[in-house]
């Protein structure tokens, strides 16, 4: 595969840069039911994604409909060890999510964008509480960045979402040193390296 997360090489330094973000779908009164995840691949990875699937941009630099559908099909077929990119936490515990569904692929300014839904296994009432989402891939082969303002859809009530971008703490060089220590091609998979550099979205209700 090599196309999707999880099928990625287990040991790696960021080679793929993905912008995007997460929108939140509320079913009823301040109850979170699904995440809508957006990935916008970098220009180079866009070309690699196409090439590795025997596809290419057309003469106008666009994506033919048949090729777009092929890619959409690829994004319906997730590897067993898919690790995700949207990691939702409530009270420090991970909230289980359903497999990705309803993928939509399109070309945006020469970059492939994939949007898909991840429903919560159990809808999560958030009234008077909060949750946190970290946007990352654990081996850090893929470097994710929240670039879209999170949208709250449905009965979000008083809930608000704030993006907390990753900022290196100048007083704590240990994180960057850790990354620097690792060779440019290798990152250990026994550690959640990606989490160390993750952008986060804080969700607060009431």
């Amino acid at each position: 595969m090599g196309l999707l997360l999880g099928a990625s090489p287990a040991l790696a330094h960021p080679h793929v840069f993905i912008d995007g973000g997460v929108d939140f779908q509320f079913s009823e009164d301040e109850t979170l039911s699904a995440l809508k995840v957006t990935w916008l691949y970098d220009e180079f990875e866009t070309l690699y994604l196409l090439a590795s699937n025997n596809l290419s941009l057309n003469a106008e630099g666009g994506l033919d409909e048949a090729d777009r559908l092929t890619l959409e099909q690829k994004f319906s077929d997730w590897p067993e060890d898919f690790d995700g990119s949207a990691h939702l936490m409530r009270d420090g515990k991970p909230v289980p999510l359903e497999w990705p569904s309803d993928p939509k692929v399109q070309l945006v300014d020469g970059r492939i964008q994939a949007v898909f839904t991840r429903a919560l296994e159990t809808p999560l009432p958030l009234s008077g509480g909060n949750a946190e989402l970290a946007f990352y891939e654990s081996t850090y082969f893929f470097a994710f960045k929240v670039t879209n303002t999170p949208q709250l859809r449905g009965s979000s009530g008083t809930c608000v979402a704030d993006v907390i971008p990753f900022t290196p703490d100048p007083n704590d060089a240990s994180v960057l040193t850790k990354l620097a220590m690792l060779s440019r091609e290798e990152t250990p998979d026994d550690e959640n390296v990606g989490l160390l550099f993750a952008d986060r979205i804080a969700l607060k209700c009431g």
Partner: protein, 305 residues
Amino acid sequence: MRVIVTAILALAVVAAAAIGIDWSSVTQWVLDQQRAFQTQMAGAVRALKAGEPGAYLALFAATGAYGFVHAVGPGHGKYLMGGVGLGTSVTASRLVGIASVSSIAQAVWAIVLVYGGFSLIAITAGQMTFLAEDILAPASYIAIACVGLILVWRGVRRISQARNQTQHSHPHHDHNHHAHHHDDEACGCGGHHVSAQDIAKLSSRREALALIGSVAIRPCTGAIFLLVIAWQMDILLAGALAVIVMGLGTAALTSLVALSSVTARRLALVTASPTGMQSTVFSASQVCVGLAIIWLSLGLLWVAI
């Protein structure tokens, strides 16, 4: 006293090389640059496909810069070159040569793997990445660990030889050294020392090839990506040349490291007292560098398997 100071200095240099001190501040910068050059590469590839003039130049500029910047993030090949520069009496020009050849060999190997794999055995891009990450990477770590082992073995052997020599010929040893061999870091009183110096040198072609092979065996992921794109877009020559230029960019950086490690070793040895302790300091740092290389490469091997 000067000996102790020198030994500490030598160890500090080794430690700095091994731990990667001072790299933290450049890491974020490296990532930003890498992303920028990656985007530039993609733009140049598209321009090339569209037949725009100057696209070749743009592609080479982007890949050369990518190779250099990517290698700034402490890479394994660089640790190895730095370690060998500190831990053997290799000359600067020779080590720069080895560093350059290994980067270019790494690029050529990537071309052989991707183009060869696609044309001869119809390998898929996913299998290619698997080969690079899961088979060739561990192979490279093992090879590099062996180089570290050789360094340790040589250092230990030198120390034990020097000890034997001191026990047998103490009275005239220092005198001889002073009188005739001021500028030679391992003094030449008899066959023992000559052979000790010989084994510390990275002199044989076979050894140089082993060093080059241990680095080159593992192709760079960025190069593989570019070659996969070039193959599919049918711009084979441009892809191959661009990857060679990427290797030259990497070579420039690893050569800088090679040069500075040899300079650091010289500095440490020049300040050593002229009492014949240079060789002990040198041997000790050789053992430390060897251990550091073994530790780093086995650590990476451990997480790879």
